[in-house]
């Protein structure tokens, strides 16, 4: 059961309250620093007492994250953060549970747990640091590395198609799915906050630069010259406008995407508008499929945001239901159930 004491003081936490005494040991310039900074900025805004936060991680560079937060933290084993977190949240739904993971951790060794977490819709915020490489083991390709990529373990190029994490999360039933990037702190903070506020499994993919083993993997989304044409910021209710001067729009013509001009003089009559709450799987899937496509911009923002019952709420409700049906558990009655007899 929740072991919390009633907190009567208004919460006035700051980012310092979440800073642990541990010096981060990521490489200088690593994208992880930015995610850490934005997380510390966002947590005080959630109105949740500090002791309720639990950060669970697996193995990998990203998974050191919990040590740097002054909250409850569990640094576990490779690929298994999602299951540990599921146990924590199911056992005590009162806690605010985060999973910090990477592309190898969540999608390779932990792939099975990742899809089942999404399917169950346990109220956990999962932040996937996607650097498209194995950092901690020093530079092998990961399940999100582009096909043909040359790495330490693929000197002649990889032969495998990459996973699309956003698509996987949606296909597996996550109720909140978003994407952001380490170099856009405002967007990153906004995405972390919205994911954390969502009730249900919230998945955020963060494009994270590994400046040691995969530097510049996401440069087209961060460099001034290319950013405009490659980044599509999805805004709820808005057309899919992008471009350096916000003068292009992405439209779906019923068969394929097209890009048209979006200026004062010339704009499509009825452009498609973003609706992450529609539950329209076809549209979600189409948008997310633009990820590895160079002809189109890559969408950032919220792909899906649906209100659905969480696993732990359903479980608690079922427990209450069975208590009503059978009466609260009486140990003597249970031990004596079945055919019993008395020996005098």
């Amino acid at each position: 059961m929740a072991n919390s004491m009633i907190n009567t003081e208004p919460l006035k936490l700051t980012k310092d309250d979440f800073t642990s005494d541990q010096e981060p040991r990521w490489c200088p310039g690593c994208g992880d620093y930015s995610i850490l900074a934005q997380m510390k900025k966002v947590l005080p805004e959630l109105g949740i007492p500090k002791e309720k936060f639990v950060f669970v991680s697996g193995i990998g560079c990203s998974s050191r994250f919990p040590y740097y937060m002054d909250t409850y933290g569990f640094h576990s084993i490779h690929g298994r953060a999602a299951v540990l977190a599921s146990g924590v949240k199911t056992a005590n739904p009162d806690l605010k549970v985060f999973v910090i993971t990477g592309d190898g951790d969540a999608l390779s060794i932990g792939g099975n747990h990742f899809i089942h977490l999404c399917r169950r819709n346990i109220d956990i915020t999962m932040v996937l640091f996607n650097n498209r490489i194995y950092g901690l083991t020093k530079g092998q390709y990961s399940p999100t590395s582009e096909k043909g990529k040359k790495t330490k373990s693929s000197p002649w190029g990889t032969l495998e198609a990459p996973f699309n994490p956003v698509q996987m999360a949606m296909a597996s039933g996550a109720s909140f799915v978003g994407r952001t990037i380490d170099r856009d702190p405002k967007h990153l903070a906004d995405m972390l906050k919205r994911a954390a506020e969502h009730k249900g499994t919230a998945f955020v993919e963060v494009y994270q630069n590994c400046n040691i083993f995969n530097d510049g993997a996401f440069a087209q989304y961060t460099e001034q010259e290319t950013k405009g044409d490659h980044v599509l910021q999805m805004e709820e209710g808005q057309p899919f406008i992008f471009g350096k001067n916000k003068d292009k729009v992405l439209n779906w013509n019923g068969d394929h995407f097209e890009i048209s001009a979006f200026t004062a003089e010339k704009k499509p009559e009825n452009p498609a508008r973003h609706n992450p709450r529609s539950g329209n799987a076809a549209m979600e899937f189409l948008l997310s499929s633009l990820t590895y496509d160079d002809q189109f911009p890559t969408p950032f923002g919220v792909f899906r945001q649906l209100e659905q019952d969480t696993f732990e709420d359903l479980l608690v409700r079922q427990i209450e239901f069975v208590k009503q049906r059978k009466g609260p558990g009486d140990l003597n009655k249970l031990l004596q159930s079945g055919d019993s007899w008395m020996v005098e």
């Binding site: 059961m1 929740a2 072991n3 919390s4 004491m5 907190n7 642990s20 541990q22 500090k50 002791e51 309720k52 639990v54 669970v56 193995i59 919990p66 040590y67 002054d70 409850y72 933290g73 569990f74 640094h75 576990s76 084993i77 298994r80 299951v83 540990l84 977190a85 599921s86 146990g87 924590v88 949240k89 199911t90 056992a91 005590n92 009162d94 806690l95 099975n112 747990h113 089942h116 479980l315 079922q318 427990i319 239901f321 069975v322 208590k323 049906r325 009466g327 609260p328 558990g329 140990l331 003597n332 249970l334 031990l335 004596q336 055919d339 019993s340 007899w341 008395m342 020996v343 005098e344």
Partner: protein, 612 residues
């Protein structure tokens, strides 16, 4: 009506055998409940194929259920049945060899037609030659007689034929002077929504009973007197049911919610099934996506403050190994239940074995000590489970509970404890947030002081990397050496508080038998017989409950006997520990046939040891 006599017997072993679709497990279960209510002591041994509905009539599709009952204490399901109920030729073929000389065979003669005989690889009908000489054979047209009894029923022919096991059960009820009441009320309850089936099964049961009563072929019925039992309330219980109840009891007595993370696997799934019924006891069962997630969710729940459990069998243990290491490293209370089955790999999923002992004691990377406790019988599973939970909380450690397929599915009468008679389980957490260090230890138990997430002021980190007392990662060589020794010492120190096993028989002398787990009943029965012969040899026996840590008194006993014998259902695992721990030239008695040890084989082995 023919005149019939009733003969008194002290002890009977009966085996029901038929197709896996014939309902033999159900028939055996009903016979067991009725026998228990009649006051006999008993033990059962279900023996069924891994296939759910193996092709009808085949040898490998034979499903059996054996029960020994007696007016005297019973500790095994019996080596050799006195009575065999064979529903088809394959059942006869598979089970005949085990039957006692001059034993009784009740046969469904309707099933002995060409097709079935061929499937059972009989060249001739054994009912028509003298291959069954030396047995008392009762061929009964069970299928025909069942159909006849149900001629007015609206059920289809196929459905009617499915009632024939109740006909056979009815016959055995007459034969052993049992009342039909328990089974009648079970039928009414079970088929409450299907009056046709209630009617048909009741009719078949009664028809079997009346047939045996009135036919000329059965001249004798038998009676087994009530066994002496300590006064109290009893019920029949299988090992798996006892584990489920033990867990719920421990949850009540520790004031914790029970969390089970589990993935279905034979023969452990019944624990998951049983626990999932009892949500009103605040039981949270979590059917995980795989074995790893089973233990992982449980460890998460342990961290968050539940009584956390994962249940599995050998292959699942292999998959959970890495998480066990994390549980050792983070020092969290977690009960890991292994219902051992035949291995390696998929092995013999529905058969029994004791070959996971070394895996339990040693099978992890690094120095990763885990206390290991083994249950001795179906009913003993209750207290073994309760103790495993107590110890997990006492030292904040994973604990492995070993059971096996035999005692998991086997049943025996269990004296039901009252909730009040069970000890409270103390669970302690750190209370002073000033300078809280997560890996600081209680000097008495060496247990670290855990704090549940959600407690203000105690925010801290745990994890799989080596830590110093403060919970910070530490690569300092001496710290690692110290931590490894502390984790080991914490487990070994438990030997100070765990009850020492009692020695049975001589306290010094010629032969010391050391055993563990489900062989308890066989060894008890074998020694009982040997000691009854008034041998002048001095034999002692210690049955281990905790195998890690070993009991403190064991070294002393080992030194007081000339020889040591370790019977196990493996190629010698406990013996390796005994030999290395006590430098003694112990001998093993090992059979790995997927079955409990046979009492007579064991008696021979003991006699052999005593000779030399």
């Amino acid at each position: 009506m023919a005149k019939k006599e009733t003969q008194k017997l002290e002890r009977v072993t009966i085996r029901f055998a038929g197709d896996s679709g014939d309902g033999m497990q159900l028939t055996g279960g009903q016979f067991t409940n009725t026998t228990a209510l009649a006051g006999s002591d008993l033990i059962t041994l279900p023996d069924y194929p891994a296939e759910i509905r193996a092709p009808a009539g085949t040898l490998f599709g034979v499903s059996g259920f054996q029960i020994q009952f007696s007016s005297q204490p019973v500790h095994t399901p019996g080596d050799m049945p006195d009575v065999l109920v064979a529903m088809n030729p394959a059942a006869l073929k598979v089970n005949l060899a085990a039957l006692r000389h001059n034993g009784i065979i009740i046969i469904n003669s309707d099933a002995f037609q060409v097709k079935n005989l061929k499937l059972a690889a009989y060249e001739e009908n054994p009912l028509e030659n003298d291959s069954l000489k030396g047995y008392q054979v009762f061929p009964v047209q069970i299928t025909e007689l069942t159909r006849e009894a149900l001629k007015d029923s609206s059920l289809s022919m196929k459905e009617k034929d499915r009632c024939k096991n109740f006909f056979a059960l009815g016959m055995t009820y007459w034969m052993f002077s049992h009342s039909m009441e328990t089974t009648e009320s079970w039928i009414k309850d079970k088929f409450a929504s299907k009056p046709d089936l209630i009617d048909a099964n009741l009719k078949a049961l009664n028809a079997g009973y009346s047939y045996a009563l009135s036919t000329e072929i059965f001249t004798t019925s038998y009676e087994v007197a009530k066994a002496y039992k300590e006064p109290g309330m009893y019920r029949n219980i299988t090992g798996n049911e006892a584990i489920a109840l033990g867990l719920i009891a421990a949850a009540h007595k520790s004031g914790k919610e029970l969390f089970l993370g589990s993935y279905p696997i034979t023969p452990a799934s019944d624990i998951l099934h049983e626990l999932s019924k009892h949500r009103n006891h605040n039981v949270k069962t979590f059917q995980a996506e795989d074995e790893i997630a089973g233990i992982g969710t449980a460890l998460g729940a342990a961290y968050a403050g539940s009584l956390a459990v994962t249940t599995t069998s050998g292959p699942g243990m292999a998959l959970k190994t890495e998480f066990m290491g994390l549980a050792v490293m983070t020092e969290l209370p977690l009960v890991i239940v292994n219902i051992q089955r035949g291995g390696p790999s998929t092995g013999l999923p529905t058969k029994t074995e004791q070959a996971d002992l070394l895996q339990a004691v040693y099978g992890r990377n690094g120095e990763a000590p885990i206390p290991v406790i083994a249950a001795a019988s179906p009913a003993d599973c209750f207290m073994a489970t309760f103790e495993a939970c107590e110890i997990a909380f006492r030292v904040n450690s994973p604990v492995i509970l070993l059971s096996d397929g035999y005692i998991a599915n086997g049943a025996e009468p269990w004296k039901i404890p009252t909730a009040e008679s069970l000890p409270e389980i103390k669970v302690e957490y750190a209370t002073n947030p000033e300078n809280y260090e997560p890996y600081k230890r209680d000097p008495q138990t060496l247990s670290r002081l855990h704090v549940l997430p959600g407690t203000p002021g105690f925010e801290h980190h745990v994890g799989g990397l080596e830590k110093d007392d403060s919970g910070n990662v530490s690569y300092v060589p001496d710290n690692h050496d110290r931590m490894i020794r502390l984790r080991e010492a914490k487990i070994q120190k438990l030997a100070d508080v765990l009850p020492q096993p009692e020695i049975f028989g001589a306290k010094e002398g010629d032969l010391l038998i050391i055993s563990w787990g489900s062989t308890y009943g066989t060894i008890y029965t074998a020694l009982d017989e040997i000691l009854n012969r008034k041998t002048n040899k001095k034999i002692g026996w210690i049955h281990l409950r905790w195998i890690n840590p070993l009991p403190k008194n064991l070294a002393d006993y080992v030194s007081k006997f000339k020889k040591v014998l370790v019977p196990e259902i493996n190629l010698g695992q406990l013996i390796k520990i005994i030999r290395s721990e006590y430098l003694v030239d112990a001998k093993g008695f090992n059979k790995v046939r997927g079955l409990p040890l046979s009492t007579s084989d064991l008696i021979n082995a003991i006699d052999e040891e005593l000779k030399g």
